[in-house]
Amino acid sequence: MRTKQLTASFGISALAGLAMGAMASFAMPAQAADDTIKVGILHSLSGTMAISETTLKDVMLMLIDEQNKKGGLLGKKLEPVVVDPASNWPLFAEKARELISKDKVSAVFGCWTSVSRKSVLPVFEELNNILFYPVQYEGEESSRNVFYTGAAPNQQAIPAVDYLMSKEKVQRWVLAGTDYVYPRTTNKILEAYLKSKGVKPEDIMINYTPFGHSDWQSIVADIKKFGSAGKKTAVVSTINGDANVPFYKELGNQGVKAQDIPVVAFSVGEEELAGIDTKPLLGHLAAWNYFQSVETPANTDFIKSWKAYTKNDKRVTNDPMEAHYIGFNMWVKAVEAAGTTEPDKVIDAMVGVAVPNLTGGYSAMLPNHHITKPVLIGEVQENGQFDVVSKTSGLVPGDEWSDYLPDSKDLIADWRKPMSCGNFNVKTGKCGGKGS
C-alpha cells in the first residue's frame, strides 16, 4: 500500500511540476535580438514529405547565407529559424504559430502539400504574417498573407496539354493522379478544358490511386489498353512524389515508350528522377517553369553555388527551388522598398515587384499574389535531366481562379487597395464568392 501511495504522489507531483514548468517555459517570450531579422523555414524534415521538402530547407539556408554575405538586409543580418513540422498537418499550424508568435519571424518560407498550406493559412491570417509557398498547386485560393510562387494550373497543366495537342496530335487522354485535391482539381480543370477543345468524354479516362501506391501493373496495363483504340493517346500524370518511381519503373518494364504513349507529369522533376534509371523513360515529358538544364548565366551560377553549398556535385536543382529563389528575392526587394519588415507594409510593397528568374526573364508579383512565369515543357533525357522542347513565348500570369470551373470563373483576386479582396465576383461586383 505504501508503495502505491509513494508512486501516486510521485506521479502527481511530477504532473504538477510539469504543468507549471510548461507554463513557465512557454510564458517566457523568446529573447528577440534586435540586430537580426528572423526568417522562418517551415519544411518537413521527417516523415513522408521529407523526401521533397528537405531540399527546400537547404536552398533557403543557402539563399539567406548569400544575402548575409552581401551585407544582410536593412543593415541587419538575416537569421534563419528552422523547425520540423514532420509531415504532420496540425503540427504545421502549431509550428507556424510558434515561428510567428514565439520566434517573431518576419516572414516564413514553407509548406509543400496543399493540406499543409490550408492548415497554416488561418494562422498567417490571424497573426498577420507572410508565407511564401513555392510549389505548384491546384489554385482556387488567394490569401492576403500568402504569396504563391509555384505554378497555378494555367501555368503548368494547360500549356502542357496544349503542347501535346498541337505537337503530338494527341486525341485521347488518360488523366492519372493520386487521390487528393491537387490532382482532382487539376483534372477537373483539364477535363473542362479538353471538352471545350472538342475532346469526347469517351476519349478521357480518369484514374486515381492512393498515396504511395506501389503496384502499378494493372494501371499501366489499363493505360496500354486505353491507348489501343486507334487514336494517339497521352497520359497526364498528377501522381504524387513517392508513387512516381514505381510508376515509371513499371512503364519502362512494360515497354510503354514515349513515342507511343507519352506521359506528361506535373510533379516529377529532377529530384524525383534522381531515384530512377531514366533510360527507358527517354522522351516522357514534364511541364514546369524551370529545368536545371536551362542554360542561362543566372542558372549556371545558381547550380554552381548550390553544389558548392551542399558540397555534393550530384545534387540537382528543381522548380520549387527556383520558386523559393524568386520568392526570397522578391521579399528582399519589397523589404528594401518598404524600409521595414513589418508585414503590412511588406505585403503592400510586394505587388509589382519584379526579380530575375533563372530561365532568363523577370518574374513579377501580381495583385492576386501569384507570379508571372514562363512555361517550359521538357523531355526526359538519359542522364535524368530534361531537354526543353517547348517554351511559352512570353510569361504566363498565374490565374488563381480557374476559368474552367463553373463556380470560380467569375472570381478574381486583387489585393491592392481599395479592392483588397481574394475572391471578388465580377458578376455581382461584391467581395466574397457569390456575394450573396
Partner: protein, 382 residues
Amino acid sequence: MLLRFFLMGLDRKAGIVLTILAILAVAVPVMTLWVPADSPFHLSVFTVSLLGKYLCFALLALALDLVWGYCGILSLGHAAFFAIGGYAMGMYLMRQIGPRGVYGNPVLPDFMVFLNWKELPWYWWGFDQFWFAAVMVLVVPGALAFAFGWFAFRSRVTGVYLSIITQALTFALLLAFFRNDMGFGGNNGLTDFKDILGYDIQADTTRVALFVATVAALALSYMIASGVIASKLGKVLVALRDAESRVRFMGYDTESYKLFAWTLSACMAGVAGALYVPQVGIINPSEFAPASSIEAVIWVAVGGRGTLAGAILGAVLVNMGKSYFTGALPELWLFALGGLFVAVTLFLPKGLLGLGAQLKAKLPGRKASPLSNAQPADQKGA
C-alpha cells in the same frame, strides 16, 4: 446513485489530478486574459492552444488506458475514434462557415463547390446544429466501436490478432477518408473554420473557453474512468485482463464487459477528437494513420500503463517533448524520441509512474538487471 458512483472513484490520486486540472482551469484563463502581456506570469494564446492540444491527447490516452491498461485490449486503432469525433465536430464547424467560404455558397463547403457537387450529401444533414454534432461526436465512434467490438469480442479475437485488425480498421478508414468521393474533403480535410456557437474561433476568449472545456472534459472523463475502475465492473475488467477464461467460468459474460469498456473508451476518444479540431483548426485523414494510433499507445506506456494519471502524464510529456524537439533539434528529434521509447521499455517497464515503486524496490538489493522484469508480465500490467 450517480454521486455515489463518482465518489467511489475518488481516491487520493484522483483528488490530486482533479485539483491540478481545477487549478489549470482557473489559472490559465486568468493568466491569459487578465494578466498584462508584459508580466512574467502572462500566458500567450499560443501556449494555451498548445496546452489544450496536449490535454486532448491526454484524454485520448486516458481512453486508451481504460481498455489497454484495465482490460488488456491493445488497441492500435484508437486514433480512428479520435478522428471520427474530430470529423463530426469539423463538419459542424464547416457548416458554420456558411456563405463566408471563398465561393460564397451558403450551404456547400468549398471543397464540394470546386468538385462540382450540387447538393449536400445526406450524411452532412443536421450538422449545422451544434447539439446534433455533439451527439454524433459520441454516437458515431461509439457505434463503430460497438459494432466492431461486438464481432471481434464474440469471435474471441484476442491479443495481437485484435491489435492488428484494429490497425486494419484505422487504415481502411484512412484510405476511405482520403477518397474525395467520400465527401469529407479528401486529403485536405476540413479546415478554415470561422466560428463555433457564434463565437469567433480565433478570438482569445474562444480559445481560452475551448481550453477550459477541454480541462472539464478531461476531468469528467477521469472521474468516469476512475469510477468505472473502482466499481465491481472495474474489478471484473482487471480480472479478465489477467485471466479471461477464469472469469468466464465464473459466469461473467466477458464479451459484454469488454464491449462496455471498449465503447465507453471510443466515446471518450471521440470527445477528445471533437475538442482537438477547433483548437488546431484542421482535421484531415492523416489522423487515421496507423502510426498515430501507435503513438498514442506509446504515450500510455511512457506514463505508465494501468494508471489513469500515468496515461495523462505520458501524453502531455511526450507531446511536449515533440513540440520542443521539433523546434530545437529539427534534424535529430527522431533519435531523441525513438531513444526515449526504447529507454522507457527497457528501464521503466511500468512507465514513469512506476518509477517510484521501481526505485524503492531496487534500493535494498541494488543491482537488478532489466531481466528481472522480463518475466511474462505482459498479461499482468498494473
